[in-house]
């Protein structure tokens, strides 16, 4: 923009578009511009981190660039370098910023006691201990060393169902821990 420098110099009354108009600027373009408009830049330029990620919805595996600023995601869009997606995203992939930033996300632990009618708050550490206690107790109570004369070394008292958006590393630790616990009813969306 040829007259950008002039505009940035202008202050106060001199920015009044009518005056700029009288000086010959086009009232339908240059003269009409506000200071905010002159300063506009894409917000991704302000990101302090750009993570190369992958869309969490279907299994096509589209590349995503996740822009974050001060610990908050400011934009998620396709990674143009990806040979799979070439920077494109479907509506779900395009909505993944909302998935992350959505105010409806539950970010605290909630607890419902047996027969309770409302949620209660529980801190994370306590909840983890309570869950560990229950796993250990249930495992002992339902341990099966043998069935029909055959060694089975397992518990049918603890089961698990995982979604298929789990990372490989997560699935691995799950399967490893469950197997060591003797829990065999370990299932995943992959069968559903």
């Amino acid at each position: 923009m040829g007259n950008k420098r002039r505009m940035t110099r202008e202050r106060g009354i001199f920015r009044w578009p009518v005056l700029r108009q009288l000086r010959g600027e086009d009232p339908r373009s240059d003269a009409a511009r506000s200071a905010r408009t002159d300063a506009l830049r894409p917000r991704v330029e302000q990101a302090d981190k750009v993570a190369r990620s992958v869309c969490p919805y279907c299994a096509v595996g589209c590349g995503q660039l996740v822009y974050a600023k001060e610990g908050r995601v400011t934009q998620i869009e396709g990674d143009p370098d990806s040979p799979i997606s070439r920077g494109r995203l479907c509506p779900k992939g395009s909505a993944s910023k909302q998935l992350v930033n959505h105010p409806d996300r539950q970010t605290t632990v909630l607890y419902r006691r047996p027969h309770g009618t409302e949620w209660e708050r529980l801190d994370l550490d306590t909840a983890m201990d309570m869950i560990a206690d229950r796993v250990v107790r249930t495992r002992r109570e339902t341990w099966q060393q043998e069935e029909d004369g055959k060694v089975v070394r397992r518990t049918l008292g603890i089961a698990s169902l995982g979604g298929a958006t789990l990372d490989n590393e997560e699935n691995y630790l799950m399967k490893k821990l469950y197997t060591a616990l003797g829990a065999i009813q370990v299932e995943n969306q992959a069968r559903i």
């Binding site: 894409p42 494109r88 479907c90 509506p91 992939g93 909505a95």
Partner: protein
């Protein structure tokens, strides 16, 4: 002034995924537009407005067997134009609301992503009294949200029914062709997301050339109903910065068949108004001359 840029939306390869609608909203922070099941095929956002800057239309049709005739478009696409059947496109004086059912199997499902046309002669921009709407260095038309005072004039001025006023906010909004992104050398969010490249962004001249080639290709494949819309610089709005390849008449997609920028007639209007004003003065003078007697 930078080179003029624009959108070429090739509806013949649109898969109706609505990524454009969502990508637009994510980038531009456009609020949701309500949650209404409209029973109009897979379209539940209805049309462009203050809170929908990209909108995908869905039209279910039956292609009549050759010889069935059908309303031929101006492009002379007499062979294949689809008859409008089913609760899709309505034909008739009353443009009956969905609910009526006529029943032939659908074998053509048109999908098209609509957007602000960024007209060469933009009525919204012309009529905006505050200068909120302005023409950018990319020859696009953008509302400055910090200037708009919500007068609402641009809303009925647009011959395409694009711009709307958000009633809870009070201001007018529409597609900016991601003006902020353009300033950073990025392409608009919708074009970037579009999985099949139905939405193409680039220098307008290049897009026009590409579009002409695409029409030729399609005609070569026997799809003679393909035609460009908004690509003609001599039309009533001087051509669009966002133009389309359509597979049926524009009105089938909810687009005006022959739009005109209303300000084309403004000089004449001022003329008639001046005449009326003078008449007023004359009558008033006469009234006093007569009333004195």
């Amino acid at each position: 002034m930078a080179e003029r840029v624009g959108f070429f939306t090739d509806t013949s390869i649109c898969i109706g995924c609505k990524a454009c609608e969502v990508a637009c909203k994510e980038w531009n922070d456009v609020p949701d537009d309500g949650f209404v099941f409209r029973a109009t095929s897979y379209d539940n956002t209805g049309g462009l407005g203050a809170s929908t800057w990209r909108h995908v239309a869905f039209i279910e049709q039956r292609v009549p067997a050759p010889g069935d005739g059908g309303p031929g478009g101006p492009s002379g696409a007499g062979e294949l134009p689809a008859d409008s059947v089913g609760p899709g496109v309505e034909t008739g004086a009353d443009g009956e609301r969905p609910g009526a059912v006529t029943g032939e199997p659908v074998d053509r499902w048109l999908m098209a992503s609509d957007v602000c046309k960024h007209c060469t002669h933009a009525a919204c921009l012309d009529v905006c009294p505050t200068g909120a709407l302005f023409r950018t260095e990319f020859d696009t038309v953008v509302v400055q949200a910090d200037v708009c005072n919500g007068c609402g004039y641009c809303v009925p001025a647009c011959p395409y029914g694009v711009i709307g006023r958000r009633e809870d906010d009070g201001r007018a909004f529409k597609c900016t062709m991601c003006y902020d992104r353009l300033r950073g050398g990025l392409e608009p969010a919708c074009a970037k997301a579009c999985p099949t490249d139905s939405i193409q962004f680039g220098p307008l001249d290049e897009l026009l050339e590409r579009a002409e080639r695409r029409v030729t290709d399609l005609h070569g494949q026997g799809r003679t109903e393909a035609r460009l819309y908004g690509a003609d610089p001599t039309d009533g709005v001087g051509g669009d910065g966002a133009f389309f390849l359509l597979m049926d008449d524009p009105e089938v997609y909810g687009l005006p068949p022959d739009p005109v920028v209303t300000t084309r007639d403004l000089p004449a209007m001022w003329g008639w108004a001046a005449g009326a004003a003078l008449s007023m003065a004359g009558i008033m003078t006469a009234a006093f001359l007569r009333g004195r007697r």
